[in-house]
Symmetry: C2
């Protein structure tokens, strides 16, 4: 009966045809797109073509002939609509961590340029992704700032202290799937004169994000999760157009120069978002991301969000009553596109699922995560996953000691 | 007669079989490997396979199954012998500029950790690559250091001032091809307690480099020039083993953590060269570099250097007497693997050559550069290039006003 209902939902799903554009192995229910999205058919073809028809044929001239030089901007302009940013405000390159470094360092400098003399406080929450916390610490040390970390529910109160220079958060908690109220927290930060830096890695691509209407200052995000850009795809940096003239990239490199090919000895930052660039773009990795973004063309993000709700709600409904604790908020408006379940033997549970073709992942100490990427996950996959989980739990298959010795799914 | 001699040299060349391992377009003499190396046959195949057989089939599990997690170290250990570094001292990732930022910031911190209290002076020369100068300026501002720039011939004298914290140089001048005496300058820097940061982008892969015997402290280099790793290939960072425990990477990220997958809130730098890592590695770009390095397996770098001498000497001999000024040192021991020629209409000359299938490039205001990569350039190519140049100069083909309007070769 559940399968019939799932099939009906899939038949009525306007996004259903997109699944064919992905290379997914047979017999696998892939619920780890929040860690690494699968390749698109386009990406495979594009990479083969770039080696023979661009790099191999036109060699160094490809920088101009195939406009590799502009690639970080062209790909950035394709990510922009996914986060509600205007053209010319997003640039692609480097890793998410390096972009966080630029954004956080740049944010402290922006705040100081407004005349503040007291110690810059970077406010974040305990649920932030570790690399965000690490780079925040590094920036704080180098910039003479201070990191203040509070519980996710305590952010608004912490902002009221009035001394915060920069509010730096990840919109969707990578562990629990809890969704922050980005517009509200951004407004609260602005009330006290703080600059906002949002990490959109776990939200962009599975829900509408609107940095413009929320008036976000700076944002970064990852290319290899819900954007399906490939392992270690370059990340992106958003700088609000109103700040572009004042934003200073702490890592001054030749591609962020106003005229990189003048080879001038003096650094002069490029106008616009190009100043967010650093070195030579990773063209091959970036072309795979560019190809993956083809899938998003003409996709209505409200439909994506509606399907995400439908998938995660169905999964929660089906696992209710199983011997696991739901970590993710039950209210769909308060979560991203993942469902996390707590089980004391979470690691072995995830391994037992993987052995049965259901790929989720594990986050210490006891969380099993399942990401539902609406572009390629169907309701029937949700039913499969939930049934397999029920079977693993009921049969106590996770007790097999061999599972604990397996490599993590990652 | 010259062609006959060139053919003889090519027939006797022990490296000649390597040329077949590259994808080179027919009818082109490619003398811009110092800007972007051509693809290897392996790289094209490896990239196609990684999409279908790794990313597409094993998805997120590839991080363990295909050891993507270790890729920056495995590729680093393959670059290590090219620069005389031991295994475990080179890591691959990010761009050259980002690695320079880590190395320069790390160098100033190392120097300070030795108890120096005076202003840290970063000494470099006017001929350094622009991105090196830009990032030096950025590090100086953030670290409260000072950049001192002198003529390349004035470095030893400048070191004698005794206040230098860090000597930061590029071994081969990207514009003229002039080769610095790396062992001697490193020793002179150490005499005054300075830390050395060498950029090997224009030297590694075309000559033996030995950071160990020269006792170099830190080094970086580029993957896409003579290493043929592809457009925007990840770069590398070397840290002398004796400094690894003390080296602090200014960009703290999760892949530089001692236990990235513990997702701990506290940053704890990884032991060894892993602390030079930052974010998720650009796997696709890195696999192309890995494949390209196959070509270097069992290649004797002394033979590479000898062939480089032979190619550049022949080119200089053939263009002697033409209406150009040789910018590159005539003594082969004082140059890298490129020859640069000055001509008042250098831009148009390079374009006229490109139109005739000889690809060099142009660096303002008047320098035409020709890189001779010994792994795939033959002596007959040198003869072709020199003859074509003679023809362009004698016919004054560069006067065609259309050439000046063409996009740069880059």
């Amino acid at each position: 009966m559940t399968v019939d209902r799932a099939r009906e939902l899939d038949e009525a799903d306007p996004l259903a045809p997109l699944r064919e554009r992905f290379l997914l192995p047979p017999g696998v229910v892939y619920l780890d797109g929040n860690s690494l999205g699968p390749p698109t058919v386009d990406a495979a073809e594009r990479l083969a073509a770039v080696v023979t028809e661009q790099w191999g044929r036109d060699l160094v001239r490809s920088w101009n002939v195939h406009r590799w030089v502009d690639l970080p901007h062209r790909v950035g302009d394709r990510i922009a609509p996914l986060i509600g940013a205007p053209a010319g405000s997003v640039v692609v390159g480097d890793s998410t961590t390096v972009n966080l470094y630029k954004a956080l360092g740049g944010a402290v400098d922006l705040w100081r340029s407004e005349g503040h003399r007291r110690t810059a406080v970077i406010l974040t929450d305990t649920a932030n992704f570790p690399t965000d916390l690490y780079v925040m610490g590094a920036v704080a040390r180098r910039w003479g700032a201070e990191v203040r970390t509070v519980e996710p529910t305590g952010l608004e109160e912490a902002l009221e202290a009035g001394d915060v220079a920069c509010l730096a958060l990840t919109q969707v908690d990578y562990r629990t799937g809890r969704l922050h109220d980005l517009p509200r927290l951004t407004a609260a930060a602005h009330q006290v004169g703080a600059i906002t830096v949002w990490d959109l890695s776990h939200s962009a691509g599975v829900m509408p994000v609107d940095v413009t209407s929320a008036d976000v200052d700076l944002a970064v995000g990852c290319g290899y999760k819900y954007l399906n850009g490939g392992p270690g795809a370059p990340a992106y940096l958003y700088v609000a157009p109103r700040l572009l003239d004042r934003f200073s990239n702490p890592i001054a490199g030749w591609f962020g120069h106003a005229a990189p090919f003048d080879f001038s000895a003096e650094f002069r930052p490029a106008p616009g978002i190009a100043r967010g660039r650093v070195g030579t773009p990773h063209v091959l990795s970036m072309l795979a991301l560019d190809a993956a973004l083809d899938v998003f063309r003409d996709v209505d993000l409200d439909l994506v969000r509606a399907k995400s709700h439908s998938l995660t709600t169905l999964f929660i409904e089906l696992v209710d009553g199983l011997d696991v604790e739901l970590v993710t908020p039950r209210d769909p408006d308060l979560r991203g596109s993942q469902v996390s379940l707590r089980h004391p033997n979470g690691y072995a549970v995830v391994q037992a699922l993987a052995a049965r073709g259901v790929i989720g992942d594990f986050r210490a100490p006891d969380v099993a995560r399942f990401g539902f990427a609406p572009l390629y996950i169907r309701h029937v996959d949700v039913v499969d996953a939930a049934r397999t989980l029920a079977e693993v739990l009921e049969s106590e298959a996770w007790r097999d000691p061999e599972l604990a010795r397996r490599d993590p799914v990652t």
